[in-house]
Symmetry: C2
Subunit: 370 residues, 2 copies
């Protein structure tokens, strides 16, 4: 049995926890079934928008997201300083727009909830929206501005996290799918992958929507996560045509520094079916066009899809299992990029100190037991 932590899964979650563990001197080995960061981490839009995306009755998720947003500037600064690479972190804020009166009632209802939670939001008239984001449709009736909602280029983020992990001394095995895990009397499960067996003092499962499919993990040890398909596309606009995250009742639109606008996303329970569909792409194009009429003439840069890891209650699964030394960090659903810093910080503390940080308590794997 080797010292340190073995991590299964090389997305933003596995890589960032691994990087934080290495920074504290922990030996870390990471097994990735394919290429690092090419699944949900790659497919995401990179909106850091816990305020705009607040859901009724999901206060613990909101608190987690807000803490992660608070940690983001320092996390990014440290990551960029350590690697010398940028991750496209932007702080322009988000604008949630209504495009007709029915939308406005819904927007107002959410705005009041945001205010009740003391979130930083501002109601904008149509004129104020036009001044803030002139490329938006003249059909915008009203909007809520959320200055605290930020953005990151998630593809850069996961690429830079990979650099940081390796540069910090983490050992990375790509193209190494786990064939089986085997429960042991003493310590966490042993892992068979790439034709050999791996045993470490600690094991972290961070395999996104594949976390529930590891052979040998059964019953209470098997995290219940499912793939939630998202179709998403990017168009090429002039840089700075749009600077804010835009949310409409139909789509969100996340700008990139090079002018690309990422338009997302469908939410579909389709297993791992990766088809782009007529209806999915049609709704994204229509939604983008309704919000920003100028996109009609713009080139489509890319269309893709990905699989969010969704738990039974759509909240992440973060903590130690009933087997000492066996940890899980998955189920981030639509908020994996947002919740990377908070997951990295507190999961690495949990793995090293063995005591559960208070903020992770609501997300324990134990909540699904019994």
């Amino acid at each position: 049995m080797e010292k340190g932590t073995l991590i299964i899964g090389g997305g933003v979650i596995g890589l960032s926890i691994g990087w934080r563990l290495r920074a504290r001197g922990e030996p870390v080995t990471l097994l990735e079934r394919g290429e690092t960061g090419r699944e949900a981490s790659w497919a995401a839009a990179g909106m850091l928008a816990p305020v705009s995306e607040v859901h009724f009755q999901e206060d613990v998720n909101l608190r987690l997201g807000q803490e992660s947003l608070r940690l983001y500037p320092e996390f990014v600064a440290e990551l960029e300083a350590f690697t010398g690479k940028e991750v496209g972190y932007r702080r322009e804020g988000g604008i949630s727009v209504s495009l007709h009166a029915d939308d406005t009632a819904e927007l107002r209802h959410r705005f009041e909830y945001q205010q009740a939670l003391d979130l930083p939001v501002e109601w904008l008239s149509a004129t104020e929206v036009q001044n803030l984001a002139p490329a938006l449709s003249h059909n915008v009736v009203a909007a809520v501005y959320s200055p605290a909602d930020h953005q990151v280029d998630n593809r850069k983020l996961v690429t830079v996290l990979r650099c940081a992990f390796v540069q910090a001394g983490g050992i990375l095995h790509e193209q190494t799918p786990v064939e089986e895990v085997r429960l042991l009397e003493d310590g966490p499960p042993a892992v068979r992958a790439g034709g050999r067996e791996w045993r470490s003092e600690k094991l972290l499962l961070a395999a996104g929507s594949w976390s529930g499919m590891i052979p040998g993990l059964d019953g209470a040890l098997r995290p219940w996560v499912r793939p939630v398909k998202g179709q998403i596309l990017a168009v090429r606009a002039a840089p700075d045509l749009i600077r804010h995250n835009i949310r409409t009742p139909d789509v969100y639109i996340a700008p990139r520094a090079d002018g690309r606008l990422v338009v997302g996303a469908t939410v579909e329970e389709m297993g791992y079916n990766a088809d782009l569909t007529v209806g999915g792409v049609f709704e994204l194009l229509r939604g983008a066009w309704r919000a920003i009429p100028g996109v009609y003439e713009m080139p489509i840069h890319e269309i893709w899809c990905g699989f969010r890891p969704g738990s039974r209650d759509n909240a992440p699964i973060l903590g130690e299992t009933e087997i000492p030394g066996f940890f899980i960090a998955t189920g981030h659903y639509r908020n994996g990029i947002l919740n990377t810093p908070v997951t990295a910080k507190y999961m690495s503390e949990l793995i090293l100190a063995g005591t559960m940080p208070e903020i992770l308590a609501p997300f324990s794997p134990a909540r699904f037991s019994g």
Copy 2:
């Protein structure tokens, strides 16, 4: 100067004329700038629909298309027998539908014109349309059935034409763009390509929308053709869900044997800009969905674009130029696949016999002179 004919352009037109020339014993060499058949021949939908697509005041085009449609069965039979390969020729006919009352007036107007021209068409009630093609929308108000309009798999066609040309002894040089043509005192221009000079008794220019861009061809010798961009896509449906060519006021839908439905096409004057655009793809998806509601759930198989060679009057340019031995066959616009057999037959006769077949007379390059 070599005996025989040198052809510039390896699409359906150049390859099919070359094949017919070889069948008559003519030595033929073909220069293709890239890979054969990957431009307009590849991008097309393969509808053979001169009846459904009849345009007012374009009777000479109609006659050419009808003659080509008449030649198609024998052309295909000979090609398939010679090569042992299939080209996906189908005779299910076409259905032009109207989706609301305004469309119906337009459809009726065209129907009366089709009847006046003695074309085989049949007016269908909504119920009759449903019986003929149950996958069509229940919003179909009426339709015109054109049993004579057929289909071919244009990608198979051009691939098989390449086989036939080579198998018949044609000499093919791919990746050999023409660098320059040089006018000579005696005979057709000499061609510089691939670092050497080519001279033959006869020269045929069949380079589609690139025909006007050959360096050295100026003035009356330069065919005026422009690229007319079309965006087009394919969805994957169950085989035989749709068996007919479908035309709506927005799009056409051409079925393939494997179930793919080809949905086309935008008509854009954008030069060689090959971008897929938000608006272009959006209109194709919307048009397909309006005609066949079931496509909403279907996977998008492919999205692409191509460049139709459009002449000044949108009719093909077929014949000998004012330089004896220098022939042109280009400008087929939206009907290159349809007009392949008629072009191959009569252009090869013209090149071999030197006398103009009557059917080609209206399409002479001379019509743009003076």
